[in-house]
C-alpha cells in the first residue's frame, strides 16, 4: 500500500521537479565551461535537435501510459520519409506528399493495432517484428539509396524554415506537445488512456471502449513517427532508408526519464518535455565541452539508469 500511495500525483510533481533541478545543474555545469551554452542561438539549436525525437516522444508518452509499447517508430519514421520524398520527387504537389507520408504512419499504426489489439500478440514482439519488416521494406523500395528532394522550397520549410523568429520544427514540436497534453489531461479519451493503463479489465467492465482507445494510441504513434520522418527528410533534403534507426530507444528513454511508467497508468507530457530537453541539453553540452562521441553514449546510458534507479528508490521508501 505504501508503494501505491507514492504513486500519487504529488509524487509525480516531485519527480518532475527533480528532473528540473537536474536540468538546472546541467546548465550550470556546462555554462561554466562554455559561454555559448545558454545563448539564445544554442537553445534554439537544442530545440532543433530534439524536435524530431520530441514529436514522437509526445505520442510515445500516450502509448506507455496506456500500457502499450511501439518499437516500430524508428522504421515508421524511415519509411514515411521515403514515401513523402518519392511522391514529391515524382512532381506531385506538396499536400499530396505530406498526406501520403502521414497516411503511411496511420496505416502502420493500424497494422500494429491489428496485431496487438485484434490478434492479441504481445506488443513487444509485434512491434519488434514491424521494426524489422518496415526497415527491410524501406531498403527494398529504395534499393538502399536515399531519395533526394532538393530544390523544393515549400517542403524544405518543414524542417529548415523560420516562423516568427523560431525554427518551424520547434514550433511543430510545441504544437504537438500542446495537442497531446490537451488530449491527455482534459478529454474523455485521455482519461480512458490512463484508466486502461491502470487496469484494462476495470476499464472494460466500466464500459470504456478499450479496443478503440488502444488502437488510437498506436495510430497516433505511427502518425507522430511519420511527421518526424517528413521533418527529417525536409531537414536533410533527402530521405535515407536508414533514417531513424535506433531512435525508438532514445524516444522511450526520454519518456521514461520524464517519469512515465513502462508498466502503464502513470506519467505525463510535462515530464516527457523535460526528459527530451534534458537529453538534448546533455548531448549538446557534451559536444560543447568536447567530450568524445563514445563517451557521450556511455553518459546517456548512465543518466537513464540513474533516473530509473532514483525513481524506484523514491517510490519504494
Amino acid at each position: 500500500m505504501a508503494l501505491r500511495i507514492r504513486e500519487s500525483i504529488n509524487l509525480r510533481l516531485i519527480n518532475i521537479a527533480g528532473l528540473a533541478v537536474a536540468l538546472m545543474l546541467l546548465g550550470a555545469i556546462v555554462s561554466s565551461q562554455s559561454e555559448f551554452f545558454l545563448t539564445e542561438r544554442n537553445i534554439l539549436n537544442i530545440g532543433r535537435a530534439v524536435a524530431i525525437t520530441g514529436v514522437i516522444a509526445a505520442a510515445t508518452t500516450l502509448v506507455l501510459i496506456a500500457g502499450e509499447l511501439d518499437l516500430s517508430i524508428g522504421s515508421t519514421l524511415g519509411l514515411s520519409g521515403i514515401v513523402t520524398a518519392s511522391v514529391l520527387s515524382s512532381g506531385l504537389p506538396l499536400p499530396v506528399g505530406l498526406l501520403a507520408g502521414l497516411m503511411t504512419g496511420v496505416v502502420i499504426g493500424l497494422a500494429n493495432a491489428g496485431l496487438v489489439v485484434g490478434i492479441g500478440v504481445n506488443p513487444l514482439i509485434a512491434t519488434l517484428g514491424m521494426l524489422f519488416a518496415l526497415r527491410g521494406l524501406a531498403y527494398v523500395a529504395t534499393n538502399g539509396t536515399p531519395v533526394v528532394v532538393f530544390g523544393l522550397e515549400d517542403f524544405a520549410f518543414l524542417g529548415q524554415g523560420q516562423f516568427l523568429g523560431f525554427p518551424f520544427s520547434v514550433l511543430l514540436l510545441v504544437g504537438v506537445f500542446l495537442a497531446a497534453g490537451f488530449l491527455l489531461s482534459v478529454t474523455v479519451t485521455g482519461g480512458h488512456v490512463y484508466a486502461i493503463g491502470g487496469s484494462r479489465l476495470a476499464a472494460k467492465l466500466a464500459g470504456v471502449p478499450v479496443a478503440r482507445i488502444r488502437t488510437t494510441v498506436y495510430v497516433l504513434s505511427g502518425a507522430s513517427a511519420a511527421l518526424a520522418g517528413m521533418m527529417l527528410a525536409s531537414s536533410n533534403g533527402s530521405a535515407d532508408p536508414i533514417a531513424g534507426q535506433g531512435i525508438e530507444l532514445v524516444v522511450i528513454s526520454s519518456v521514461i526519464l520524464g517519469g512515465t511508467a513502462l508498466t502503464g497508468g502513470r506519467g505525463g507530457l510535462a515530464g516527457t518535455a523535460l526528459g527530451i530537453v534534458f537529453l538534448g541539453a546533455l548531448s549538446n553540452g557534451m559536444n560543447l565541452m568536447g567530450l568524445p562521441g563514445y563517451w557521450q553514449i556511455l553518459v546517456q546510458g548512465v543518466v537513464l539508469l540513474a533516473a530509473v534507479v532514483i525513481d524506484r528508490v523514491v517510490n519504494r521508501t
Binding site: R4, E7, S8, I9, G191, A195, L205, G207
Partner: protein
C-alpha cells in the same frame, strides 16, 4: 420490508439454462427480483449463483431461457447492454482503475462533457463531475477526504468498495447486482457496504446480493433464494434462520448437518 410499496418485479428470468461443456451451471431456473428489496442468492460453490448474476449482468449469455427487464424480454449481448437497461454490477474484485481518482472512477466510461463545441471535442466537465460525485457519496454516507487528484489504489479496500457501490447505485435505474461484495473486506468495512446496499434498495432499486456470509444474508435480505446444483430449491421471505439456510443449501436436514459438522454457533462462515 418485504411488503414495501416497491414490491414490483423488475428483473426476471424464466426457463434459464446454462452449461459449460459437460457441466450444467443452471437448469430450468425461474427467478423474480423485486424493486426496493434486497434479494440474496445463496448456495454452495457450483450452485449457479455467480452464473445467474453474470447472465443478469450481460457478462454471460444463457443457452436457453429468457431475461425480462420491467416485464420486457431482453437480450443482453454484453455488460454494455445490461448497463444501458439500468442494471449495474459491483464485482468481488474491486473493478476500479487504481491509478485514477474517485471522481474519474465514478464517471469512468460515462464522463460528463462541457456544453458546446469544447464538449463535442471531448473536453471533460471536471467541475460538474466533482460536484455530482460529492453529492452522491454524501447521500450514501461515504466519507472520503480526497475526491480528486488522489489515486483510488492508495485508499483502503473499504473505501474502494464504497466507491464501487456508490458508482453502481449512482448509475443503476433498475437493479444493482453484488457478487460477494464484502469478500475482500474487514468487519467494519463490510458493514459500511451492506448499509449502502440497503440505502440503494430504499431508493426503489432492486438489489441482488450473492454472499457466502450467512449472517449478512439474514441481517439484510428481504428475500432469500436458495440454489443447489443449478436449480432454485427454496425462496424464503421470513423465518430465515441459519439452520434452515444451511439445510437448504446442502440439501439435508439442517440439524443433522449442524451436529455432524459441529457448525452450531454464530459463525456460519465455516460452512465454506
Amino acid at each position: 420490508m418485504t411488503e414495501s410499496a416497491h414490491s414490483r418485479v423488475v428483473l426476471e428470468v424464466r426457463g434459464l439454462q446454462k452449461a459449460y461443456g459437460p457441466i450444467t451451471a443452471i437448469q430450468d431456473l425461474d427467478v423474480s427480483i423485486r424493486a426496493g428489496e434486497i434479494t440474496a442468492i445463496v448456495g454452495d460453490n457450483g450452485a449457479g449463483k455467480s452464473t445467474l448474476v453474470k447472465i443478469l449482468a450481460g457478462a454471460e449469455s444463457p443457452d436457453d431461457g429468457q431475461v425480462y427487464v420491467n416485464g420486457e424480454a431482453v437480450r443482453l449481448r454484453g455488460p454494455h447492454d445490461a448497463r444501458a437497461l439500468g442494471i449495474e454490477t459491483v464485482f468481488q474484485d474491486l473493478a476500479l482503475a487504481p491509478n485514477r481518482d474517485v471522481v474519474s472512477n465514478l464517471f469512468l466510461g460515462r464522463e460528463l462533457r462541457l456544453p458546446g463545441p469544447l464538449g463535442t471535442m471531448g473536453v471533460l466537465d471536471k467541475r460538474a463531475m466533482r460536484h455530482r460525485a460529492g453529492e452522491q457519496l454524501e447521500s450514501l454516507g461515504v466519507r472520503i477526504p480526497r475526491l480528486s487528484g488522489y489515486p483510488i489504489g492508495a485508499m483502503s479496500g473499504g473505501q474502494r468498495q464504497s466507491v464501487a457501490v456508490a458508482r453502481a447505485g449512482f448509475w443503476a435505474t433498475v437493479a444493482m447486482l453484488m457478487d460477494e461484495p464484502t469478500a475482500a473486506l474487514g468487519v467494519r468495512e463490510s458493514q459500511r457496504v451492506l448499509v449502502m446496499a440497503r440505502q440503494v434498495a430504499d431508493r426503489g432499486l432492486a438489489v441482488v446480493l450473492i454472499s457466502h456470509i450467512l449472517p449478512h444474508v439474514m441481517e439484510l435480505a428481504d428475500r432469500v433464494i436458495v440454489m443447489r446444483q443449478g436449480r432454485k430449491v427454496a425462496e424464503l421471505t421470513d423465518d430465515i434462520s441459519s439452520e434452515r439456510l444451511i439445510g437448504l443449501i446442502v440439501g439435508v436436514d439442517a440439524k443433522r448437518v449442524v451436529e455432524d459438522q459441529g457448525l452450531a454457533g454464530p459463525d456460519e462462515r465455516q460452512h465454506e
